[in-house]
């Protein structure tokens, strides 16, 4: 069995926890890769100092790299390890560049899998390797899902939706030439392809994890009207930013502020109160709250301790977990009302936003979540991100190819082949889209059959 068909690459160290990040590539073309990036293959197992320049020649970082010739490497294959500065940005850039140079993103636990399959591990370790694959794939899945719950997921799904429509249309004309279909409108397909390409470009330009690092962790403050959300924001920011008044429903839109808590950038978003009986203007504000919550990384759920425990709307409850939510009981200066249990085991703190009491505890709780957030899935996020960028690039190239083929009036079944390649690429982000999906759409859109 040959497992050396391709060369895989991934981050080998957790991101954001150390001064150095290691990116590793292993496989048939590892030596070629070293030559392409650094000019020459150095003697094996000897760390070299060099500039890492990406394919366009731009300097990414000065790095240490070590080449291991197979079978004397961890995986048993030719392997290169590149140690760069611990900045997650840099690690991601290098990983993206390796993928652009033809590496495939390693699957969860794949280095260990290769090591095992190439006889570099004892037979007794099979189960440990299987466990590792399982654990890492669950984490990668969690990281990918976290991204997809937000704006990225919505946008990718919109693009997939559009692409499935285009393909269903083209396939209808390929597979049912004798049917009574309206005339084939390839101009419309061209316009839809332009729309798709623009969408893919927008996605490539905004990079979710990059945003997380650049813009901070998106932290949404939510709760019932007059629970003290805006006061809390003001307290955390340290100045009067939100308009505060005892009237419930003062915040009708949302407000955003950057703060540093511990070593983390937070993008604090204050939202309109969750008032089930809101008037229409206020309701628009509440809709905005849901929108913001869909993209949130962390939640601060502000609860008025003087009132009975409020319920959570279902869409929010589904997104809020003990790993991303802090229950903030406000107004500890006033006598509390008796409470039942929280719906989930959220970490909880008691504060008085008005007087500033309990803020240290809140900051500590936020720091703890933010850190676990980075440590737990930070490296997976980089992997997910590099994978997404690669997939989007591939999708874009295939879409352009299809567009050119159609413009040159080549048969549309050839363009369909490119569009399927694009769909597969999108599928690497959101999960495989199989033939049935296209056939379902086709039969739903066209009256086919005699």
């Amino acid at each position: 069995m040959s497992y050396l068909g391709d060369t895989i690459a991934a981050l080998a160290t957790p991101a954001g926890t150390s001064a150095i990040a290691v990116v590793r590539a292993s496989g048939l073309h590892a030596a070629d890769l070293v030559r392409a990036v650094f000019g020459a293959t150095p003697p094996p197992r000897l760390a070299q100092h060099a500039d890492y320049r990406d394919r366009s020649g731009a300097l990414v970082d000065d790095v240490l790299f070590t080449f291991f010739a197979g079978p004397n490497s961890f995986t048993g294959e030719d392997t290169v390890e590149i140690s760069c500065h611990g900045n997650p940005f840099i690690a991601q850039k290098i990983l993206e560049d390796l993928l652009a140079r033809g590496c495939r993103p390693a699957e969860a636990g794949e280095f260990s899998k290769r090591a095992f399959l190439n006889g570099r591990m004892d037979l007794s370790q099979a189960e440990a390797v299987m466990d590792l694959i399982h654990a890492r794939s669950e984490r990668a899945l969690a990281a990918a899902n976290q991204q997809l719950r937000g704006a990225l997921g919505r946008q990718v799904n919109q693009l997939i939706e559009l692409l499935v429509n285009i393909l269903a249309t083209i396939e209808a004309y390929v597979d049912f030439p004798d049917e009574d279909l309206p005339p084939e409108d390839l101009d419309k397909v061209q316009r839809q392809l332009d729309e798709l390409l623009a969408g893919a470009n927008r996605l490539l330009a905004t990079n979710r994890y990059g945003e997380l690092l650049r813009e901070g962790i998106k932290t949404v403050i939510l709760g019932e009207p007059n629970a003290g959300k805006s006061s809390l924001l003001n307290r955390l920011v340290g100045r009067e930013r939100a308009l505060v008044s005892p009237e419930p429903g003062t915040t009708r839109d949302y407000l955003e502020e950057r703060v540093v808590i511990g070593s983390h950038w937070l993008r604090l978003v204050d939202t309109a109160g969750l008032n089930p009986s809101a008037a229409s203007l206020e309701k628009r504000g509440i809709d905005k709250t849901f929108e913001q919550a869909a993209e949130a990384d962390l939640f601060l759920w502000v609860i008025d301790s003087t009132r009975p425990l409020p319920g959570l709307p279902e869409t929010l409850a589904a997104r809020m977990t003990p790993a991303n939510t802090i229950a903030v009981f406000n107004k500890l200066d006033l006598p509390p009302a008796p409470k039942g249990d929280l719906p989930k085991a959220f970490p909880l703190v008691h504060v008085s936003a008005l007087q500033g009491a309990g803020l240290e505890a809140l900051q500590a709780a936020v720091t703890k979540l933010a850190e676990s957030f980075h440590v737990e899935i930070g490296d997976e996020l980089i992997a997910v991100n590099a994978r997404h960028s690669l997939a989007l690039d591939q999708a874009k190239a295939a879409l352009l190819e299809a567009k050119q083929k159609l413009a040159a009036q080549e048969p549309s079944d050839l363009a369909a082949s490119d569009l399927r390649a694009a769909l597969d690429a999108f599928g690497q982000i959101s999960g495989k889209i199989d033939n049935e999906t296209i056939l379902d759409r086709l039969f739903a859109s066209f009256c086919i059959g005699k």
Binding site: E110, L117, E171, D178, D180
Partner: protein, 622 residues
């Protein structure tokens, strides 16, 4: 009584399109073969429309021919109209289609079966299977004669507990005028094979002289017919052709005298009639529990689901040269007869039409195909093979393809040899069988080109070349034909290489072809090559970039296709395998990692885990 003490190598139950190919394939491989049919006069009957081929199906018929099957040559010799579909698209999705003379199609196949050495035909209805030690060893018939066989191929089509509906009227039977196989299902259930129900439908047949053709648009055949068979396999003693009836049997060119189809459409009145009587339709009144196909909707479905479409196209297809019967393609329904009559009369040209047979829907048992190995042998009962509609498919071509593979594999099983497994990157037949055994189906399964990941490699003209190794290793074709194909392969390879490497004005020939195939003037020696060689070379050169991409993708997944999964693997006990995947794998029992990866819900991490486990088990053994 027991008919035979020495068992046949292969017994085929059912002589439809699957049974015919199965029995011919087995007999041609040298297996002593018995074909049992409930009615010898309905061998290879086209129960639905009188046509063979069309999208993806046409390619599949040529694949059947490349594997020594009979469908292609039989279509060429009994075809009365030939059209190449999709001429405006690329060569890979162009498909030949033919209208056939229904009776001639049957007669010629019956005659072929009669002449086939090693094959015995007998009229008896199979009522049950005989099992011994968990294996099938023969079958019982309604004549109380038992037939013993080493292997049994079941090709019962829609006859297993077949129930026909015309409105509220119900009749038992697999086809109008035919019987229902009522007890065989019990035998299959007893053996542990699960059965479910499917439904299909067929439109009314009308009398030609009651049609007003002046109202209709004519659809003619192609002046240059595209035939299905790569090679005329007829012996000198078998020059049958429908067009030669009563004439001298020489000098005939297939497709030389073609007949036309006619086009008409439904009207607003038709829609009204259907809508007003929807509650009387067997399908809409809840009479039918089976699932029908999405791609072949009844007229009820069309008017309900596409209510804004003002009219639906209908094709009138002649059922033969010596009959005045016409088939109304597009008007499948299970409305009561009086409403059918009203409906037909609401159609331009058919105002006075006389109905010869009503439209009807038919429900039947099928055995969910995930219960089979890719050889089409049952996982539950050794030596039992299943092919055709009993596996949940629809269409003559899909049935014939499975019949051929089941017949070959039954013969190989009897003889003792590895089965013929066609991969999904090799042919539509491979896609068909792989889809069936790994994914199963919830509606009658029909082939579409879009089901194939690598359809650009499946142009109809390359079928012989694609399947050459299979034909050779199982000796499915005679030596002279094999030699011809090897020679063709050589010529194609020679020109492909020559065009890529030698130059003309402004670069290689290949680039000139890719720039503008119409404008380039090719060397005269090339023009002297056979048409099929020229077409294949030009296709490969012109679309090389695409074809290479397909081949690279196939290469990428080859290694997982090669990793065999041990039959006894206990998925539920594998640590780290997600529960959802474990259950699916446990249920579907894929044979290799490639198949496992195509099961929905099984992700790459699950495949990695299996890969490690299998490697560990293999290492332990050795």
């Amino acid at each position: 009584m027991i008919y035979n003490q020495k068992p046949f190598d292969v017994i085929v139950c059912g002589a439809g399109h699957a049974g015919v190919e199965a029995s011919l394939a087995a007999a041609r491989m040298g297996a002593s073969t018995l074909l049992l049919t409930g009615n010898i006069d309905t061998i290879a009957q086209m129960s639905c429309n009188p046509a063979i081929g069309g999208q993806a199906k046409g390619q599949m018929v040529r694949e059947i021919d490349a594997l020594g099957g009979e469908m292609a040559i039989n279509t060429d010799l009994t075809g009365i109209q030939f059209r190449l579909l999709n001429e405006s698209k690329g060569p890979a999705v162009q498909s030949p289609r033919a209208q056939c003379d229904k009776k001639a199609y049957q007669f010629r196949l019956k005659h072929t079966l009669e002449l086939q050495p090693n094959l015995q035909i007998f009229q008896a209805t199979v009522t049950g299977l005989i099992f011994k030690d968990g294996k099938v060893v023969g079958c019982r018939t309604n004549l109380d004669i038992d037939f013993m066989g080493q292997t049994v191929v079941i090709t019962t089509g829609t006859f297993l507990r077949g129930l026909m509906h015309v409105g509220q009227n119900k009749n038992e039977g697999g086809r109008l005028g035919d019987f229902s196989a009522k007890t065989l299902s019990g035998s299959l259930l007893e053996a542990g094979i699960e059965l479910q129900r499917l439904k299909t439908g067929t439109p009314p047949r009308i009398l030609g002289r009651s049609i007003n053709f002046s109202e209709l648009e004519e659809q003619k055949g192609d002046p240059e017919p595209t035939l299905f068979a790569f090679h005329d396999t007829r012996g000198p003693e078998d020059p049958f052709h429908v067009e030669q009836t009563g004439e001298q049997r020489i000098g005939w060119k297939p497709g030389s005298v073609q007949v036309s189809c006619w086009m008409t459409h439904t009207t607003l009145r038709s829609a009204e009639i259907v809508r007003d009587n929807l509650h009387k339709s067997a399908m809409y009144s809840g009479e039918i529990s089976g699932v029908g196909p999405r791609y072949c909707p009844s007229i009820e479905d069309k008017f309900v689901r596409f209510a804004d479409k003002p009219r639906h196209l209908l094709f009138l297809e002649p059922e033969g040269r010596n009959t005045n019967e016409y088939y109304i393609n597009g008007l499948s329904t299970s409305l009561p007869f009086d409403i059918q009559l009203e409906l037909v009369h609401s159609i331009p040209g058919l105002e006075q039409a006389q109905l010869l047979r009503p439209a009807y829907a038919v429900e039947y048992d099928f055995a969910p195909p995930t219960q089979m190995f890719p050889s089409l042998e049952s996982r539950k009962v050794e030596n039992l093979f299943l092919a055709g509609q009993i596996n949940g498919t629809s269409g003559y071509e899909e049935a014939a393809a499975q019949g051929l593979v089941a017949g070959v594999n039954a013969a190989l099983k009897a003889r003792g040899g590895p089965p013929l497994i066609i991969k999904r990157h090799e042919a539509y037949i491979g896609v068909l069988i792989d889809d069936l055994v790994t994914k199963g189906t919830t509606e009658p399964y029909r082939m579409f080109t879009s089901r194939a990941e690598h359809r650009l490699l499946f142009n109809h003209g390359s079928a012989e070349l694609r399947l050459l190794q299979h034909a050779k290793s199982h000796m499915l074709l005679n030596n002279s034909r094999l030699e011809n194909i090897f020679a063709k392969e050589k010529r194609v390879g020679y020109w492909e290489n020559r065009f890529e490497t030698s130059t003309t004005v402004g670069g290689s020939w290949a680039n000139a072809i890719r720039r503008d195939r119409e404008a380039v003037i090719l060397p005269p020696e090339f023009a002297a090559e056979a048409k099929e060689v020229r077409e294949e070379v030009l296709y490969r050169v012109a679309y090389r970039g695409y074809l290479d991409r397909e081949r690279r993708q196939i290469e990428k997944f080859k290694h997982v296709e090669k990793v065999r999964i041990p039959d006894a693997l206990d998925y539920l006990a594998i640590p780290g395998l997600r529960r959802e995947s474990a259950l699916k794998l446990h249920q579907l029992r894929p044979q290799n990692l490639g198949q496992a990866g195509r099961i929905s819900g099984v992700n790459p991490a699950d495949i990695s885990i299996l890969m490690v486990l299998i490697a560990a088990q293999n290492a332990e053994k050795s």
